[in-house]
Amino acid sequence: MDVGLGMVIAITGAALAVILPGIGSALGVGLVGETASGVVAEDPEKFGKLLILQALPGTQGIYGLLAGFLIIMKLGLLGKMIAVSVEAGTAVLGAACPIAIVGLISAIIQAKVAAAGVGVVAKRPEEMGKAIILAAMVETYAVLALLTTILLLNGISV
C-alpha cells in the first residue's frame, strides 16, 4: 500500500527517537572512554570497573532504540503496514519527542558526571559505587522521558 503523509511523519518520529539519544550516548560513551583510557594506561587492573562507568551514558541510546521499535511495531512496519492519518502520525512524532530530546541531553550530561567519577575510581576504587550512583541520578530524567513516551504511544490509537 502507499505510504501516506501520516506514515512519513510517524516514521520521522521513530527515526528521531533513535537518532538523537544515539548521538548523545555515542558522545557520552566516547567522553567517558577517553577519560578512562588515561587511568587504564596507569593501572590496567581497573579496566573492569571503568567499563561499567563507561556503559552508564550508553543506556539512553538503548531507550531511544526501544522507543523507535515500539513505533515501528505500532505502525506495523515489520508485517502488514497500516494506514496512518496525518493527525495520528503527528501524534506519534510528538510522543517520540520526550525520549528523543531528553535522551540526547541527559546522555551528555551523565557522561560528564561519569567522567568525573573516573577520578574517583582512580584514587579510591573501593568507592566506585558512589561514583556510579552520582551518574545514575542524571539518568532518572531519561527514564522518566522514556516512561512518558511509552505511555503516550500506548494512548495513541492509529
Binding site: E45, I62, L66, L70, E139, T140, I150, L151
Partner: protein, 638 residues
C-alpha cells in the same frame, strides 16, 4: 541483628610488655585502636627507617620476580581481584622471616643487577635490529662500505640521479667514472670524482645517499650477517640472564613471607603512636566486639603476666564506636547495597534487613524477564561454585535471578517472545498502566515502610513525641491521600473515601500544629507548620520516581523482543540462516541481560539511597578495622 555491639577497652601496663601485647593483639584481630593522647609519643625512628628500607628493597625484588611468574588469570579477574594469598601460621611466618632477613640485601641487589642487565641487553638488541633494518636497503651494493669515501686522488660517492642528468655528467669522462648499481625511476650510482672537480659537479642535480654507520667493514650483505650473529648472541645472553633471575623464583615465597612479617612489625611501631606513655607505663585504648571482650582480656593478662589494669565500658552517645555489620544468611548479601552508600552510625539500626526485601522486588521488576532470571540464577550458582571469594555477591545475584524469574513469569515474557508462555497475572505490554500503578503502589509501601523505620528509631531513642509527629503523621497522610485517589477511581466505596478525606484533613491540621514546634513565636510556629505541607511535593516526586520500575522492566522486554525480531530477519539469509539466527539470539540476549542487570542493580540501589534512606538514615559510621598483622602476599591463619 544488624550490627555488632562494641565495648570500650582500656589497658594500662608496664612498658616492657608492650611488644608482647601488640603481638598477641595483632594475632587476635579484635581491637580497633583509638588514639589515647593527642600528641603522639616519639617512636624509634631509626628502627622505622630501617624497616622501610628493607620493605622497599623487598617490594622491588618481589614485583620484578612476579613478572617472570606465569600468571593464570581467569576472565573474571578483569572485574575483581581474586585472592591468591597463601595461608600461613603466625609461628611459621616468623620462623621463615627470621631466617631470610639477613639475606634481603644480597637477594634484592642480585635481582636489581639482573634487571639492569636485561634492560641493557634489550636496548642493545633494539639498536642492532634498527641497524639491520637500515642496512637492508643497500643489499644491492656488492662492494665493501669502506670503499665508498675519500681516497688520496678521488672522492667516491653513492648518489641517486636521473638518467638524463647522468648522461650530462658522463661527458666529463676525464674527471669522472661511474657504475650503475641499481636501476629504477632514478638511478643509484657510484660516482668516482677526481679531486678538484667537486665545484663543477655541484651544477648537476643529484642526491647523495648517506650510508648508515657500522663499526665494522664489509658489503651490506656481510654486515647484515654479522649483525644477525651478534643479535643471536645477545638474545642467548638475555635468555641466560632471565634464567638466572628465574632461579630466584625459588626464594620468592620466602621473600613474600618476610615482607609481610616486616610490614607487621612496622604496623606495630606505627600503632605505638596511638598509645599514651609515662616513664614506666603505657595506656592503650580501643573498641572490641562485646562478645570477644573476655577472649581479649584473657590474652592481654597472659601477655603481660597479669601486670596490667583492664577496664571495659559501654559506648556512650558522645563516642563514635566503629561499625561491624552482622546479618543473617538471607540479608547478608544485601550488605553491599548499604556499604556502597555508607555505614550507619553506632546508635542507629543497620538498614540492611529493612531494604533487603524491597531490593529483591525492585531488581526483579526492573528486569521482568523470566528467561533472563533463570540464566542469571544459573550463572550466579556457577560463579559462587567456582570462586569462593565471591560467594556473597553470587548469592545476591542468584536472589536477583529468582526475583526476576518470578516477576517475568507473572507479568513479563520468556526471552522476548522466544518461549510463547503467557504471563500468569497480566501482560505488562498490553497493560502498561497496570504496571505503572503496581510500581507506584510498591513505591508508596516502600516510603511508608521507611517512615515506620524512622518511627521505630525515634521510639528507641526515647523521642516519643517526634516519633508520632514526624513519621506517623506523614505515613497516615501518604496512605490516606493514596486511598482517596484510589476511591476516586472507584476502587473504594464512597463512604470509605469520605472517611479517608476526614483523616487526611485531620492529619494536615496536626502537621500544621506540630511541624513548627521548634520556632519561638506563635506566629512563626504556624507559618513553619503551614510551609511544612510543601513536604508533600517531595513525597509526590518520591512516589513518581518509582515509575522507573515500569520503564526499566519494559525496556528489558522490548529489547529482548528486538533481538528476537533481528534473529527472525537473519533466518532469511540463505544457507547460514539458522546459524546466524542462533548467533544473533545468543549475543543479543547476553548483551541485553548484562546491560539490563547493571541498570536494574543501579536503579534499585538509587531507590534505596534517595527515596528510602532519606526518611530515616543518618549514617556516618566508620569501619571496624582491627589491629592486625599485614597480609599483603600471605594470609595469617588463626
Amino acid at each position: 541483628m544488624g550490627k555488632v555491639k562494641m565495648s570500650k577497652l582500656t589497658v594500662v601496663s608496664h612498658t616492657k610488655y608492650r611488644e608482647k601485647l601488640f603481638s598477641v593483639l595483632q594475632h587476635l584481630r579484635a581491637v580497633h585502636l583509638e588514639e589515647v593522647s593527642k600528641t603522639p609519643p616519639i617512636v624509634d625512628e631509626e628502627k622505622l627507617s630501617e624497616l622501610n628500607h628493607s620493605l622497599t628493597q623487598l617490594k622491588y625484588a618481589i614485583s620484578s620476580l612476579l613478572k617472570f611468574k606465569k600468571k593464570k588469570r581467569s576472565p573474571i579477574e578483569t572485574f575483581v581481584e581474586l585472592d591468591h594469598r597463601m595461608p600461613i601460621s603466625k609461628s611459621r611466618r616468623e620462623e621463615v622471616a627470621k631466617s631470610f632477613i639477613g639475606n634481603i640485601n644480597n637477594f634484592s641487589s642480585e635481582i636489581k643487577k639482573g634487571e639492569n642487565k636485561l634492560a641493557e641487553l634489550n636496548s642493545e638488541i633494539a639498536q642492532i635490529e634498527e641497524k639491520k633494518e637500515s642496512m637492508q636497503k643497500f643489499l644491492f651494493l656488492d662492494v665493501p662500505l669502506s670503499k665508498i669515501g675519500e681516497t688520496s686522488q678521488t672522492n667516491i660517492l653513492l648518489v641517486r640521479i636521473k638518467d638524463a642528468e647522468l648522461k650530462k655528467i658522463a661527458k666529463h669522462s676525464e674527471h669522472i667514472a661511474f657504475e650503475i648499481m641499481q636501476k629504477g625511476p632514478s638511478l643509484t650510482v657510484i660516482l668516482v670524482v677526481a679531486k678538484g672537480f667537486e665545484k663543477e659537479l655541484k651544477k648537476y642535480k643529484y642526491e647523495p645517499i648517506n650510508l648508515p654507520k657500522v663499526e665494522f667493514d664489509g658489503t651490506p650483505a656481510e654486515i647484515i650477517k654479522e649483525l644477525e650473529r651478534k643479535r643471536v648472541k645477545l638474545i642467548e645472553e638475555k635468555e641466560q640472564t632471565t634464567e638466572s633471575l628465574k632461579e630466584f623464583l625459588k626464594q620468592l615465597e620466602k621473600a613474600q613471607i618476610t615482607y609481610d612479617y616486616l610490614m607487621s612489625e612496622k604496623k606495630k611501631l606505627e600503632a605505638t603512636k596511638k598509645l599514651l606513655f609515662t616513664k614506666q607505663t603505657f595506656t592503650l585504648a580501643g573498641w572490641v566486639p562485646t562478645n570477644r571482650v573476655d577472649e581479649v582480656k584473657r590474652a592481654a593478662e597472659k601477655a603481660t603476666d597479669k601486670v596490667c589494669y583492664i577496664k571495659v565500658e559501654e559506648a556512650s552517645p558522645k563516642e563514635h564506636p566503629p561499625i561491624l555489620l552482622k546479618n543473617n544468611w538471607l540479608s547478608k548479601p544485601f550488605e553491599i547495597v548499604t556499604t556502597t552508600f555508607g555505614l550507619p552510625n553506632y546508635f542507629e539500626s543497620d538498614p540492611t534487613p529493612y531494604l533487603a526485601p524491597f531490593f529483591f522486588v525492585f531488581t526483579g521488576l526492573c528486569l521482568t524477564e523470566a528467561g533472563y532470571g533463570i540464566v542469571l540464577a544459573i550463572g550466579a550458582l556457577i560463579l559462587g561454585w567456582k570462586i569462593k571469594q565471591m560467594r556473597s555477591f553470587a548469592f545476591l545475584l542468584f536472589l536477583i535471578g529468582v526475583s526476576t524469574t518470578i516477576a517475568g513469569a507473572l507479568i513479563g515474557s520468556w526471552f522476548g517472545g522466544l518461549i510463547p508462555l503467557k504471563p500468569i497475572w497480566f501482560d505488562s505490554f498490553k497493560y502498561p498502566l497496570t504496571f505503572l500503578i503496581l510500581s507506584l503502589v510498591i513505591g508508596i509501601v516502600h516510603l511508608v515502610w521507611g517512615l515506620l523505620v524512622k518511627f521505630y528509631e525515634e521510639m528507641k531513642a526515647g523521642r516519643i513525641f517526634s516519633a508520632f509527629a514526624d513519621s506517623i503523621t506523614w505515613a497516615v497522610l501518604l496512605l490516606s491521600i493514596s486511598g482517596i485517589i484510589a476511591g476516586s477511581n472507584g476502587v473504594l466505596s464512597s463512604s470509605a473515601t469520605k472517611i479517608l478525606t476526614y483523616v487526611a484533613g485531620g492529619d494536615v491540621l496536626i502537621l500544621i500544629l506540630t511541624q513548627g514546634r521548634f520556632e519561638k513565636s506563635i506566629f512563626k510556629k504556624l507559618i513553619t507548620g503551614v510551609l511544612s505541607l510543601y513536604g508533600l511535593i517531595g513525597y509526590l516526586s518520591d512516589v513518581l520516581s518509582y515509575s522507573r520500575l515500569l520503564a526499566l522492566g519494559m525496556a528489558t522486554g522490548v529489547v529482548a523482543l528486538i533481538v528476537d525480531e533481528l534473529a527472525k530477519l537473519s533466518m532469511s539469509i540463505p544457507i547460514i540462516g539458522i546459524v546466524a539466527a542462533i548467533g544473533v539470539l545468543i549475543i543479543g540476549h547476553l548483551f541485553n541481560l548484562i546491560i539490563s542487570t547493571l541498570g536494574a542493580y543501579i536503579h534499585s540501589s538509587r531507590l534505596q539511597y534517595v527515596e528510602f534512606f532519606s526518611k530515616f538514615f543518618e549514617g556516618g559510621g566508620k569501619y571496624f578495622k582491627p589491629f592486625s598483622s599485614a597480609d599483603v602476599y600471605t594470609k595469617e591463619v588463626q
